[in-house]
Amino acid sequence: MSSFNKGLKLGIPIAMGYIPVSFTFGLMAVQGGLSPWIAVLISLTNLTSAGQFAGTSLIISGGTLPEITLTTFVINIRYMLMSLSLSQKIVPNMPLAEKAVMSFGITDETFSVASLEKEDITFSYMLGIITLPYFGWAFGTLLGASASSLLPQDLKDSMGIALYAMFIALVVPASKKSKAALTVAVVAIAINSMLTWVPYINSLSSGWDIIISTVVACIFGAAVFPAGEVD
């Protein structure tokens, strides 16, 4: 099987998992008064879950452009870590143009799947992983945006769980196999909870909370469980 086809196959479950989540995004955007084609445009150009949910709710609630840009950016800083991590796994001497295309498709899910690959990541393999999730994300958005008026409110509210359910489906099986990974995830949750609830330190935006929690938990992991399970 070519490496593109191999990637394509790995992208199928991600693409299907994106449908309920992007469906929710489409619903949310249209309920907030945006047109369906704007919702699809956001999905085609952003291809991200939390960042575009946050940015779009700010567009809807009348946030200023700097506010929208900064919030989206802060939530997306985690991609710098993923991109850095992938830079260590791609084939040496990948041309810049290929990096430019490939990096557009880095998401929590495509990154997680590509990270688990033993061999070096080639351009065609990564392109394969990205392709179906990209169209799945746009297609789900279109469905959600079109179905908005047909669905009862209770069901629309229930779909808010989809994004989180997908995160849980990614992190739990991996944490079962590694005590270190589980500990790092739990530390990140504990820090994020403190930054959310403890007086005086709960004033940061949730995007900053996620960056701080991630960085501190990874430093903790690297210090307490060094290299043990790397590679």
Binding site: G55, L65, S83, L84, D154, I161, S206, A222, P226
Partner: protein, 103 residues
């Protein structure tokens, strides 16, 4: 409409740049075991922080959100796929919402 399109463009830019710049600028392999371990743990830390406590507000009702969280945890523990976990969690949240509302 111009404001919305500008916002969408800016969002796309600040989503793409963090994805592109590190992989574009980083040449060669990092040697430090500490940094390699740090990078290895990123997916777990990010996903953990993205899940909790944000999930408590996922459905607009803390009770059904927690029900959905427990459902997803159980299904994920038994290594069900992304789609199964997402769809069944939605259904359980919906049903528990009806129960909370009418009983």
């Amino acid at each position: 409409m111009a404001r919305i399109l500008t916002a969408v463009f800016l969002m796309a830019a600040v989503t793409y740049l963090p994805r592109f710049l590190p992989v574009a600028l980083m040449k060669g392999r990092l040697k430090s075991p500490f940094i390699k371990s740090f990078l290895y743990y990123i997916p777990y830390a990010v996903l953990g922080a993205m899940i909790f406590p944000g999930i408590l507000n996922a459905t607009g009702n803390p009770v059904t959100s927690v029900t959905g969280m427990i459902t997803a945890l159980i299904l994920a523990y038994f290594e069900k796929g992304l789609v199964t976990v997402a769809v069944i969690s939605i259904i359980i949240v919906y049903v528990s919402g009806l129960i909370v509302k009418y009983f």
